[in-house]
């Protein structure tokens, strides 16, 4: 398979000598084939392919040449099926093509007439300017009464160029016709394929616009069919053509444009005649006036237009110089001209196979198995940039850590630059104090806020002056005992009414631990706020009043309800601060009585008693809060102070490696520079400056611009357990509401609308409407079905389809949320169910839909 393109060029240069010719061809073949010469595998495949093709073709096509088969195989990259189709097309008996079984339409009649005429015409060459122009001409020119030539064009389209070549009167061609008709057959097959579904009239404009000229692939007879005679003939032909072209040029300048041809020209101008080379094996059917039209700017088509020579010798050979190489040759030689052609073939057939895709070397090679050079460079850069970080890296990093790392690295490009820290390592290495958040719960007026105020005051977190100021203010409205509570209760409403309404978040530090107080409201109306506080806490401080009446009302009221909520929200550790011991003069009996009554309740509520510590104290006087009791009545007590008990409490284990979850506890304007800030506890995962977070349920993303720790110091990162303030950018304030969830965009939480949960009932539960709380976030839900009552300890079903769930029972219930949004819930997530101001139950999510 010698490269034909190279050949033709060589020949036209005029190497007549066969030897030189051969040498040259060999040289060129070797030179060009270096990269593309047939490899061993190719040869094997070729051999196998030829056999298969022969089999497929059968005896009918026994005359098919081996070379052609190889050619076809090479063209179709050993696709036997395609090669066979091609070869069958090529060697098929020619008769069926013109014999249309179709009803004779007007077009067909015209076409038939044209066909009949063509041979008898003066032998003028018709110019096929390119199929796109013919298609357009079809519709346009038919109106102008040019039906004949147009119809013939249509015929050209349908029957392909082969039919025309058969009709040619130039029998002299026969020497070469074999090869060239092969080529034309091939193209005609493709042309047919392409136009098979194009309607005769009303050609869709989409089809009109995208078709480009189908250049001729010439075979040139160079596959061994070449001879000196042929070479000679080609030379002569060339000469003739050159002469003719010169004549045509001269003629074109002098003659006025014919009307019809001008019309055609108008069509052609768009089509860039240069890209529509003439096929020498087709006879242009336009009258020769075509050549009289003012030539388009490009000289090429003019040169190519064969001028009819009424009397001249009509040996027609491929115009080798003007020809583009065949597809096959182009692939071999890699001629630059073949680029658009290949594309065209591809677009025409829609299935141009990738070269060498079947070759073994190709399939074996895995170019993406190794990093690309770019990757190598980037890695190196990253390594040098992240050098200090890699030092801090611990050796035994688990899979989870790697995951967390990779999650952290997933930072979308924003204005805020991420430092790409490994937060988990940073956290382990910075030797931070342990972080613990505790919620202070208890019945209203049992002294939660005052006890916390005392704690802060004694730890010098607040200075003397501000407390004195509060005292004065409190005295002026006759509530001097509230002064310490006012450290927590800051709104005018809270102060004037003397109750806490909302959670107060106050940080303080001891030597070992940095604590955050979540001072919950005790009033039953504000339990939603209290739930929000509990959801952030590691452990709880239950404040109970030591006085009998107050204690009893608490046990019926929020002492009980709070404890149940805390318990069902998964908090195990509980410090019971028996407050106001000064009012019962530190009586041991009273303390024990309170202790017994509370313990009995805890038992029924399934608290594990080993996690509960009882501390007597007095918030107002500060006895046994941070320092020992001075009162002599209290000598019986030798246990820890309230502060010591706090420090002895272990925070919950932190899920640092899990994806980020942060519940928004507050949305506010941080400062002029930070117009939008939020605060809230990180429930799981880590975050750092530059991280992108997803807010749910609004489904909006934001970027963390800056991080502030509870004590007001800036930080680069924060981890689970901390309650940082985040300054956000790239988000509008309307998308952030209290209780919303921020999570990692790579691992978002689903917004759940209906779910099944295990529910511990605090009240009688029937199918009913409930408020479903997930922290501060809440939604109205409907308990649609009571599936079963479960055994408290084993989880086995004891009763199916109960009509009502009694307090203290555990049931599996189905809940559907109203409204469109749903709640961001995960399996294992905890919810609180409330109705009409009472907590009716607490749930543990089992599954959702």
């Amino acid at each position: 398979m010698p490269p034909k393109a190279g050949f033709s060029r060589a020949k036209t240069v005029g190497y007549d000598d066969d030897d030189i010719y051969d040498d040259y061809s060999e040289e060129e073949y070797v030179g060009e084939g270096e990269g593309e010469a047939m490899s061993e595998e190719d040869k094997e495949q070729m051999a196998a392919g030829v056999i298969k093709v022969r089999e497929a073709l059968g005896s009918e096509y026994s005359k098919v040449k081996e070379v052609d088969i190889q050619d076809a195989l090479w063209n179709y990259y050993y696709d036997v099926g395609k090669s066979v189709t091609f070869l069958k097309n090529k060697y098929a008996p020619k008769a069926p093509a013109p014999a249309k079984p179709k009803a004779v339409s007007r077009f067909d009649q015209a076409a038939g007439a044209a066909d009949a005429k063509t041979p008898t015409s003066t032998g003028k060459h018709m110019l096929i300017c390119g199929t796109e122009s013919t298609a357009r001409a079809m519709s346009n020119l038919a109106i102008d009464g040019e039906g004949e030539s147009i119809a013939s064009l249509c015929e050209t389209l349908r029957d392909g160029l082969a039919a025309m070549s058969r009709e040619t009167p130039f029998t002299e061609r026969t020497a070469r016709s074999q090869a060239s008709s092969c080529a034309s057959d091939y193209t005609s097959a493709r042309t047919k394929d392409f136009f098979w579904d194009v309607p005769w009239g009303n050609v869709p404009c989409s089809r009109l616009a995208t078709i480009t000229a189908q250049p001729a692939t010439h075979k040139g007879g160079l596959l061994g069919g070449s001879s000196k005679l042929a070479a000679l003939a080609a030379k002569r032909k060339q000469k003739q053509q050159e002469e003719a072209a010169a004549k045509a040029d001269a003629a074109a300048n002098g003659l006025a444009a014919d009307k019809a041809v001008a019309l055609l020209d108008r069509l052609n101008i768009r089509d860039k005649p240069a890209s529509a080379p003439v096929r020498d094996d087709t006879k242009p059917r336009y009258p020769k006036k075509r050549s009289e039209t003012p030539p388009p700017p490009e000289p090429a088509p003019v040169e190519e237009e064969p001028i009819p020579e009424p009397q001249g010798i009509r040996i027609e050979f491929p115009n080798l110089r003007a020809k583009q190489p065949s597809m096959f040759g182009a692939i071999l030689c890699g001629s630059p001209q073949d680029e658009p052609r290949n594309q065209h073939v591809e677009s025409a057939l829609n299935s141009f196979p990738l070269p060498y895709a079947n070759a073994k070397a190709f399939t074996d090679a895995d170019p993406f198995s190794k990093p690309s050079p770019d990757d190598l460079v980037r890695q190196a850069q990253a390594r040098s940039a992240g050098a200090p970080k890699s030092k801090t890296k611990t050796k035994g990093s688990t899979d989870g850590e790697k995951l967390a790392e990779s999650v952290e690295k997933l930072v979308v490009e924003t204005k805020v630059k991420s430092k790409n820290l490994n937060v988990v390592d940073e956290y382990r290495n910075c030797g931070l104090k342990k972080v613990a958040n505790f919620v202070v719960i208890g019945h209203v007026d049992h002294g939660k806020s005052t006890l916390m105020g005392r704690l802060l005051y004694d730890l010098k977190v607040v200075d003397e002056r501000s407390v004195d100021k509060l005292r004065q203010e409190a005295e002026t409205i006759g509530k001097s005992s509230f002064a310490l509570a006012w450290l927590m209760d800051q709104t005018p409403e809270e102060r004037s009414r003397g109750v806490t309404v909302d959670i107060a978040t106050v940080p303080f530090e001891t030597e070992q631990t940095s604590f955050t107080i979540l001072d919950a409201p005790g009033h039953r109306d504000f339990i939603p706020n209290m739930i929000a506080g509990v959801s952030q806490a590691d452990f709880a401080v239950l404040v109970v009043d030591a006085q009998e009446n107050s204690f009893q009302s608490g046990l019926k009221g929020q002492t009980k309800e709070h404890a149940l909520i805390v318990r069902s929200m998964g908090i195990q550790r509980l410090i019971v601060a028996v407050n106001k011991m000064d009012t019962v003069s530190w009586s041991k009996e009273r303390f024990d009585k309170v202790r017994q009554a509370t313990t009995a309740f805890f038992e029924t509520a399934s608290f594990s008693l080993k996690n509960i510590t009882f501390i007597p104290c007095a918030g107002l006087t500060g006895d046994n809060v941070t320092k020992r009791v001075a009162d002599e009545n209290a000598e019986w007590y030798s246990g820890p102070t309230f502060l010591e008990a706090l420090e002895a409490s272990e925070p919950k284990p932190r899920a640092l490696e899990r994806p980020l979850r942060l519940t928004i506890n507050d949305v506010f304007r941080g400062s002029g520079q930070n117009p939008l800030s939020i605060s809230g506890q990180i429930e799981a995962g880590t975050l750092q400056i530059g991280d992108v977070v997803l807010a749910l349920p609004s489904r909006e993303t934001a970027t963390i611009k800056a991080i502030e720790l509870p004590d007001g110091s800036p930080a680069d990162w924060a981890v689970a357990g901390q309650i940082p303030t985040l300054h956000l950018v790239d988000i509008d304030v309307v998308h952030l509401r209290l209780g919303d969830l921020l999570c990692a965009p790579t691992a978002p939480v689903r917004l759940v609308k209906s779910f099944t949960c295990k529910m511990l009932a605090f009240e009688h539960v029937m199918p009913q409407f409930v408020d479903v709380f997930r922290g501060k976030q809440q939604a109205t839900g409907l308990i649609t079905a009571l599936a079963s009552i479960l055994d408290k300890n084993t989880g086995e079903v004891t009763r199916r389809k109960p009509r009502i769930v009694r307090p203290g029972e555990v049931a599996r219930v189905r809940i559907e949320l109203e409204g469109s949004a749903g709640l961001p819930l995960e399996v294992g997530g905890r919810i609180v169910l409330r109705d009409g101001g009472r907590t009716v139950g607490a749930g543990l999510l089992e599954s959702y839909t």
Binding site: Q490, T491, E493, R497, V501, D502, A504, H523, D525, F526, S568, E603, T604, S606, S608, L609, D666, V667, F668, R669, S679, V733, V734, L736, R737, L738, K758, M759, L760, H764, M766, Q768, F769, D771, T780, L782, T784, I789, L790, D791, K792, N793, T794, G795, T798, R799, K801, P802, R803, I804, R806, G808, V810, R834, D835, G836, G837, R838, A842, G843
Partner: protein
């Protein structure tokens, strides 16, 4: 709703009634009255196309009286519009028999309703209730929390959420007090503006000078704070409408800021005093009684279609305290057999057993509570045996201490 003409035979229930809806709520009654297969005659505007010959077609809109057999009804709660779709059953020169038409029932335009299967007791009851114009209590209610409020219009049969106000109020905290107060003020401003628009708009529509009372309900003292704000604003701005409103504002306690928290509010004395009609107060009270029996597990309460039918069969919903609570959604069922089933049950309780029957509006809170229970419930005269499967009684209260609980 005004009953213009009634031709209903007492015995068979055959006949028709001509009604004139006068206020938006009447549309709700009409929605409950009109069933598929009913025939309804009303003024309609229909576009008629006429073939003028030679392919020319002219179309014009003409008003004509149409009688259609109802196939479906569509009620838009927010705008109180009722669309009744059906097929024309009386031919006239413009409209062919059997062609489709959707009637838009409008206020102050009469329509005639005829029931093919006759008017059953429930339908007659609904009709008389709809035409009882004596009690036209209505009340605006704002159920609110901090930064969130629901504005509702409570009428005899409906609680309609008219608007929802949500304003982010920053929480208290170090140095944020200013923001908290600002946020609260903004919330109050927005809420008052919205409320005023709603109330004034409704007043214009109703064309009455009567000031509708306003109920502010909240947990804690958000409502008081808002009332304070309204008072100050009314004085400061000299707004006549607000000044007239202030004396008729009632404060009530609700558990939360949700519309369904209104249930307890409506039962509260502050509310019953203002709303002259006792219908929903009675219904709420009955629901509470039902809940009480459920809680006590004395067997004197039952819910769910199957249980209730069993209870009625065994005569437990009869004289001496038997009350059948049924939501009107069951009568709106498009399945006629279903509707008949419930009508028969109601008739039986009323006529045979001598019990009380209450049809609760699904647009009211008590009705919603009932819907959650399967739209039907009953207070029984005597305890029926436990309807669940028997449970093995395990006293596991004490044992629970050592083991981890599953929740």
């Amino acid at each position: 709703m005004k009953l213009l003409r009634q031709q209903i035979e007492a015995k068979t229930g055959a006949g028709s009634a001509t009604l004139l809806p006068e206020e938006p709520e009447d549309m709700w009654h009409a929605y409950n009255l009109i069933q598929p297969t009913d025939q309804i005659r009303a003024k309609a505007i229909r576009r008629i196309s006429k073939d003028m010959g030679a392919g020319a077609v002219t179309s014009q809109r003409i008003a004509l009286d149409l009688t259609i057999a109802v196939t479906s009804t569509d009620f838009d709660l927010a705008s109180n519009e009722l669309h009744v779709a059906g097929r024309v059953v009386s031919e006239n020169e413009h409209v062919k028999l059997g062609s489709h038409h959707t009637l838009d029932l409008e206020l102050n335009r009469k329509f005639t309703l005829e029931k093919v299967d006759g008017w059953d007791s429930v339908a007659v009851g609904m009709l008389s209730e709809a035409c009882n114009t004596s009690s036209r209590a209505e009340m605006w209610a704002v159920v609110m929390g901090e930064g969130i409020a629901n504005i509702c219009l409570i009428t005899e049969h409906q609680t309609v959420l008219r608007n929802r106000v949500e304003v982010a109020v920053p929480r208290k905290g170090k140095g944020h007090m200013e923001q908290h107060n600002k946020g609260l003020e903004k919330f109050h401003n927005t809420l008052l503006g919205t409320l005023q628009r709603d109330m004034e708009g409704a007043k214009r529509d109703a064309q009455t000078e009567k000031t509708v009372p306003l109920l502010l309900a909240s947990a804690g003292f958000y409502a008081q704070a808002f009332l304070q704000f309204i008072k100050e604003y009314a004085v400061r701005s000299g707004n006549k409408f607000l000044q007239a409103l202030v004396p008729s504002i009632v404060i009530a306690h609700s558990a939360g800021e949700h519309v369904h928290n209104l249930a307890e509010v409506l039962a509260s004395p502050a509310c019953t005093a203002k709303l002259s009609d006792a219908k929903f107060t009675r219904e709420t009270a009955l629901m509470d009684t039902f809940m009480k029996h459920m809680r006590l597990e004395d067997g004197r309460a039952a819910y769910g279609p199957r249980e209730i039918e069993r209870a009625v069969e065994s005569g437990a919903v009869g004289r001496g305290g038997g009350v059948l609570l049924i939501s009107n959604t069951l009568f709106r069922s498009h399945n006629l057999a279903e509707r008949k089933r419930w009508v028969a049950l109601v008739d039986r309780v009323k006529e045979v057993e001598g019990g009380e029957v209450r049809v609760l509006s699904s647009l009211h809170e008590s009705g919603k509570r009932l819907e959650a229970l399967g739209s039907i419930a009953a207070i029984l005269t005597y305890p029926l045996e436990e309807m669940d499967e028997e449970e093995e009684d395990v006293a596991n209260g004490v044992r629970a201490n050592d083991e981890e609980m599953i929740i």
